[in-house]
């Protein structure tokens, strides 16, 4: 497979890293706030529920501050990824999000068939015959391995109900 992009532009590593570091710091702040709500002082049973996570939160914020400082000091301007590469990543993330979101309503099997078929046809440009063989083959194998042999139930939707599986 190729990345399918000829452009050489994209977000800089520095910028994305700063964003990620700030998000981690924000997570640290949320942990601190949550810990304060749970109580961080000494109770009848010793340190209260928020005691340990409170200091963890402080560590997260402090190490993020140092990481942000270090990241900003670095003088490189290499790219985080090219726009084409990021498009490639999103072309997986977005359909996977739709697949995961649809699962509670249409069940795992139907969602998987559509997902695999879409992936192979759109990104792989396969013939319909190959697409259908893999798209239907995988869920059928999954059904036998997980549900029949190892008795692990998987989420089902109206189609499975109609088929009586």
């Amino acid at each position: 497979m190729t990345t399918g992009s000829s452009s050489n532009t994209g977000p800089t590593h520095k910028l994305v890293e700063a964003g990620v570091t700030l998000l981690i710091a924000l997570f640290g702040v949320i942990v601190i706030v949550g810990s304060l709500k749970a109580g961080i002082n000494w109770g009848a049973e010793g340190p209260r529920a928020g005691f340990f996570p409170f200091y963890i939160g402080l560590f997260i914020v402090a190490s993020s501050a140092i990481n942000l400082w270090n990241g900003m000091r670095e003088g490189n301007d290499r790219l985080f990824a090219e726009w084409g590469q990021l498009r490639q990543v999103l072309s997986v993330v977005i359909p996977t999000a739709i697949y995961v979101g649809a699962m509670p309503f249409i069940g795992l099997y139907v969602a998987s068939i559509i997902f695999i078929a879409w992936f192979m046809r759109w990104l792989g440009k396969y013939r319909w015959l190959t697409v259908l063989a893999v798209a239907f083959g995988m869920p059928i194998v999954t059904y036998f391995i997980f549900e029949r042999w190892f008795m692990v139930p998987l989420p089902k939707g109206p189609v499975e109900e109609w088929l009586g599986i």
């Binding site: 893999v134 995988m138 139930p153």
Partner: protein, 499 residues
């Protein structure tokens, strides 16, 4: 002596027909996992964990540990034939393995790699057999403060020995601890960090995190990089195998040294990746033909493979005897034990003898089965790699979704897995190590419990962690590990100043 008797009982358990079948199945699945890009040992074990829910615990852990051995073997196939390290610890194997394959010596390289892996693993299992019971009986005397000190040492080792920037390792680790703290507090029974979301009552399951961070994250990275498989054919026949085996004893010194490096790095827990690099580096420096390393020297395959497998196996020693896993995959195995109601740690050797020794015996047998399977089936496994990524990727994604759902039969977990996947992609691209994050999710509760119980006993005084020689020694070792890179730098400066 008692250990030997126990081990023989273990062999009797592991040699039951069902367990042997499970062993072969585990090895084959493991090699497939090791060969496929985007699926690693930790992630593979996590996805396949639900398959073992209906098995007895001993069979289940045998299957999971065999998946682990298989994944370790599988990494070598892609490194030698395709110059694609399936696992990070296989990177050093590509240096000489791939040039050998290009010179038409793929069979020799693979035989050397598999045999060395086998030797490394066998050495580490022998070490576990001898040392683990001693460590476990010693650890029986541990109170909460000592327990916390062991966790402290394990986590500090990650910071000091990691090749990523120390503050990024700390941040990643602390994220893991914070995620582990979400939900019901096991000591007070109080809810915390749930912010009113009922889905968070049980906290974040580390299996979901592993599948997302390692599985989905890796697929996204592979999609971004674009992947082209171009590899030589792998023809292994008996003649090549025997010829290579005849040559291998020449490198016994390299092998033995790599075994020691691997065991040390596996227990500490620096892990298989630094072990393989270190072993390769030392072999290159010491060997007579050192300057030929990188051009297709068989010794350059022997050194990293022996060390990586020894480290991967040795990582199970602290998991079994102390309850502290030495690698992310060992952490997933530990999670598996907890799911079956087994508490890893010193008591396991007392309360679950049959289980522990069955597992240790299966390590011996699993590696023998593994060696036979990979030596005979390399062409089949190599053929898997020729299946285009646009077919394999959706299948792996569906498998990840199934694995995530099966943990608690919850579609919320599948969504969470995707979120972890995106986070894993971003963190990995920004040089944050994922292994300490996962280990912190697994051990967070236990470390916190030990910490709070110690403080409760000492009325809040941190002096409890220096209150006796044992706990002080472990804590000081932890601090040395934490500041290891600073100490090393200072030492180098001092030496150059003196010179």
């Amino acid at each position: 002596m008692e250990e030997l008797v126990n081990l023989f009982h273990g062999f009797a358990v592991a040699l039951q027909p069902f367990n042997i079948m499970v062993m072969v199945l585990g090895i084959v699945l493991g090699v497939i996992i090791g060969v496929l890009p985007g699926l690693g040992g930790a992630n593979g074990v996590a996805i396949l964990l639900p398959l073992t829910f209906s098995m007895p615990p001993t069979s289940a852990i045998i299957m999971l540990s065999c998946i682990y051995w298989g994944a370790l073997f599988g990494g070598a196939i892609t490194s030698v034939l395709f110059n694609i390290p399936g696992e990070p610890w296989s990177v050093a194997t590509t240096f000489d393995g791939y040039p050998m394959a290009q010179q038409g010596k793929a069979g020799e390289a693979l035989t050397a790699a598999f045999t060395s892996s086998f030797v490394g693993a066998l050495f580490a299992v022998a070490m576990i057999t001898l040392v683990a019971p001693l460590v476990a009986s010693f650890a029986l005397q541990f109170g909460p403060a000592e327990k916390f000190a062991v966790y402290f040492l394990a986590f500090c080792s990650f910071v000091g020995l990691s090749k990523e920037p120390p503050f990024k390792t700390i941040a990643a680790m602390m994220i893991g601890f914070a995620l582990a703290a979400v939900g019901l507090d096991s000591i007070t029974g109080q809810l915390r960090l749930t912010f009113g979301f009922t889905e968070l009552l049980n906290g974040f399951d580390f299996l979901i995190a592993v599948i997302g961070l390692f599985g989905i994250g890796e697929i996204l990275l592979t999609m971004e990089e674009g992947l082209a498989f171009r590899g030589g054919n792998a023809k292994i026949n008996l003649r090549v195998v025997l010829q290579t085996w005849k040559e291998l004893p020449k490198y016994w010194m390299t092998s033995l040294r790599s075994c020691f490096i691997g065991c040390w790095m596996g227990v500490t827990p620096a892990g298989a990746t630094p072990a393989s690099f270190m072993s390769y580096g030392i072999a290159k420096r010491v060997a007579k033909n050192g300057k030929n390393f990188g051009k297709g020297e068989i010794e350059g395959v022997v050194a990293p493979e022996t060390a990586a497998h020894a480290a991967g196996t040795a990582a199970l020693l602290p998991m079994l005897s102390l309850g502290v896993p030495g690698s992310p995959t060992a952490a997933v195995l530990l999670g598996g034990l907890l799911i079956w109601g087994l508490q890893p740690g010193p008591m396991l050797f007392v309360e679950q003898k049959e289980f522990v020794w069955g597992l240790i015996a299966s390590m011996y047998l699993g590696n023998i089965v593994g060696l036979l399977v990979v030596l005979t089936c390399v062409p089949i496994f190599a053929a898997i790699l020729r299946v285009p990524f646009s077919i394999i990727a959706p299948l792996i994604l569906v498998l990840c979704a199934i694995g995530a759902y099966s943990v608690h039969s919850s579609t919320f977990d599948v969504m969470l897995m995707l979120v972890f996947g995106v986070i894993g992609y971003l963190l990995k691209k920004c040089n944050y190590p994922l292994a300490p994050l996962v280990l912190a999710i697994v051990l967070g509760d236990k470390a916190e419990e030990a910490f709070r119980q110690s403080l409760l006993g000492s009325q809040g005084s941190l002096g409890v962690f220096l209150s006796n020689p044992l706990v002080s020694t472990i804590m000081i070792l932890g601090l040395i590990a934490l500041f290891w890179s600073v100490i090393q730098e200072g030492y180098t400066r001092l030496r150059s100043a003196v010179a």
